[in-house]
């Protein structure tokens, strides 16, 4: 809670560029005040960053402990000896790797199908003249307001009636049904110059070639943002797989981790190893895609 109020006061001086202050030396007492401000301004963000990382760093150090190691005191958590045996054990003897693969497969398939079907629908609405076009677009727009959490019970019944419970397809299909991609891509496709499309038509391009060779490549940034969000959404989805999957071999990571970890209450080592195994791929991916993720978030924030 401290971090909520403390830094706020100290952060404002950061808005002052350093240059002017050095040009006109302020009176003596003021100078020391500035110095203190400067120290706090540099130290507080750093301390906060460390606080944010401590639980994750702790997780990694615990995962390197010997199984059942008795720990008393903070520093002991971080002290050697270290061992990678837990990782070997978790990867070889448990279903965690299987769950990781399941999450990957479900996430990738969901993302690919989402990109294909939403871009096609967006293309139709943006570039093809057909009847009731406006109505259909508004019909899709309205779906943005349907919260998946509030329709999960009837969704369960529907997927059950389709005999798709406890299967990948039952996990994947509801994940593609969000119209957000259509709405974003439609506004992107609208920006494609009309002359480009017209001249392609005159050259005898089929609609599919216009879609695939002209419009899609121009929408790469929007497609990337949608891909990242669809994948992260699927990767982290908890509620739907929690209801729809019963077989342990079909679990995704978010469902598998609690099943595994709830068997442990005093042994910290194995649960933290499982957490680490589940997090390492995501953290690596984050370092590769940080720019795109950050851009994508700003994008959704503005577009809603």
């Amino acid at each position: 809670m401290e971090t909520n109020t403390l830094p706020k006061r100290e952060v404002q001086p950061s808005q002052v560029p350093d240059q002017p202050r050095q040009n006109q030396p302020p009176p003596q007492p003021k100078k020391s005040k500035f110095k203190r401000g400067k120290v706090l301004r540099n130290v507080l963000p750093f301390i906060t960053a460390v606080l944010f990382l401590v639980p994750l760093i702790w997780m990694f150090f615990v995962s390197l402990k010997e199984q059942g190691a008795a720990i008393s005191g903070v520093l002991e958590w971080f002290a050697p000896p270290y061992t990678f045996e837990n990782y070997v054990h978790v990867v070889m003897d448990t279903a965690v790797l299987r769950w990781l693969v399941n999450s990957l497969v479900v996430g990738i398939i969901t993302t690919i199908i989402t990109l294909v079907v939403t871009s096609m629908a967006a293309f139709a609405i943006s570039q093809i003249k057909f009847s009731y076009k406006k109505f259909i677009f508004v019909f899709f727009l309205a779906g943005l307001m349907v919260p998946g959490e509030a329709t999960i019970i009837p969704l369960y019944q529907i997927v059950k009636d389709l005999s798709m419970l406890d299967s990948y397809i039952g996990l994947i299909l509801p994940g593609i049904a969000s119209p957000l991609g259509v709405v974003i891509l439609k506004s992107f496709f609208d920006g494609v110059p009309k002359e480009v499309i017209d001249s392609a038509k005159i050259d005898g391009c089929s609609l599919f070639r216009i879609y695939y060779n002209i419009v899609l490549p121009l929408a790469k940034p929007a497609m990337a943002a949608i891909a990242i969000f669809t994948f992260i959404g699927s990767w982290n989805n908890f509620l739907w797989p929690y209801l729809a999957i019963f077989s342990e071999e079909l679990y995704t990571l978010p469902i598998g981790i609690p099943t595994f970890n709830s068997n442990y209450s005093q042994d910290y080592v194995l649960p933290m190893t499982v957490n680490a195994v589940a997090s390492i791929p995501v953290i690596i991916a984050f370092f590769f895609f940080e720019k795109q993720i950050v851009k994508g978030i700003s994008f959704t924030g503005v577009k809603g």
Binding site: L44, I125, I128, V146
Partner: protein, 293 residues
């Protein structure tokens, strides 16, 4: 003309149909299916009997429904303002001109990308009494009291809100950060010429420029908070007792522990209604801001 429209229809259908079918099946149909289910005594083994408004009457008289709705509301009240203030503070800190700004941004954002299950199980072990990290840490500074973070109602709420802040604040920080970086430099430069203090610059330049995105974050945050479920289920299980049980958990229990899908669908409709109103407010305020949807 008519022929042209027809050919347009023929051409549009293959592009439109795949998404249309999935959307109708899994986004639109559940809304109506849920309404139907709420009028039935609909058990999970599907023996149905039409009961009219009985489920709704039951809901309005069910103290557990109201208490779980209150818990969800309390979570929203506790987490939303703290979330926005912390996100703003972090954004300001990550916007300072140092070589470490990339590190700051990454560190504040990193927890957001982790799965709710990982976050929750880190929290459970981190917060454990006697052997957990946080209590050992406090002991190191001479605070000998043993805190039962997840077993005492007030502390349980503190823990849930704290973990949620840690986990999701990075996302909102990014939104603030993007808005901060969009503020044109000349505003600050001319303020410097006028001899404005740091506080004045924050109060009269930075703050007003952040209000539009702040409003977006506020509404997104309220919407997201009303959907709270997974981290509470995993961290406290709704306990101690039912003091932290959110609405979605109660809906889940009605449907899948008491096998009363009809009643679960009825309460889902109440949630649907609340969320619909909130998103209508959000859409309205966004179109007021930007003139577009």
């Amino acid at each position: 003309m008519k022929g042209k429209a027809m050919s347009g229809n023929v051409k549009a259908i293959p592009f439109l149909l795949p998404f249309f079918i999935i959307y109708v099946m899994f986004t639109v149909y559940p809304i109506f299916k849920g309404l139907q289910m709420s009028f039935y005594d609909w058990s999970i083994i599907q023996k149905m009997e039409f009961v009219g408004l009985e489920n709704y009457i039951k809901m309005f008289q069910d103290p557990d429904f109201w208490s779980s709705l209150w818990n969800t509301t309390l979570f929203t009240i506790l987490s939303t303002p703290t979330m926005i203030i912390l996100a703003l503070v972090l954004a300001l800190m990550a916007n300072t001109k140092t070589k470490l700004r990339g590190f700051y941004r990454g560190a504040y954002f990193l927890p957001s990308i982790l799965s709710v299950s990982v976050i929750s199980y880190i929290a459970i072990f981190f917060l454990q009494p006697y052997t957990g990290f946080l209590n050992s840490f406090l002991h190191m500074f001479g605070i000998q009291k043993e805190f039962f973070w997840l077993a005492e109602p007030t502390l349980a709420w503190v823990s849930i809100v704290g973990v949620t802040l840690w986990w999701t604040v990075g996302f909102n920080m990014i939104l603030f950060l993007a808005a901060l970086q969009d503020i044109p430099d000349f505003l600050y430069e001319s303020a410097d010429i006028d001899g404005a203090t740091a506080w004045q610059k924050f109060r009269y330049i930075t703050f007003p420029q952040l209000i539009p995105i702040g409003r977006v974050i506020l509404l997104l945050q309220i919407l997201a908070s009303y959907k709270v479920f997974a981290q509470i289920l995993l961290i406290t299980g709704g306990g101690p007792g039912t003091t932290t049980r959110p609405l979605i958990q109660y809906i889940y229990q009605a449907g899948f522990e008491k096998f009363n899908l009809g009643y679960a669908a009825t309460m889902s409709y109440a949630l649907f209604f609340i969320l619909l109103i909130l998103s209508l407010i959000q859409l309205k305020s966004q179109s007021d801001d930007q003139g577009v949807i």
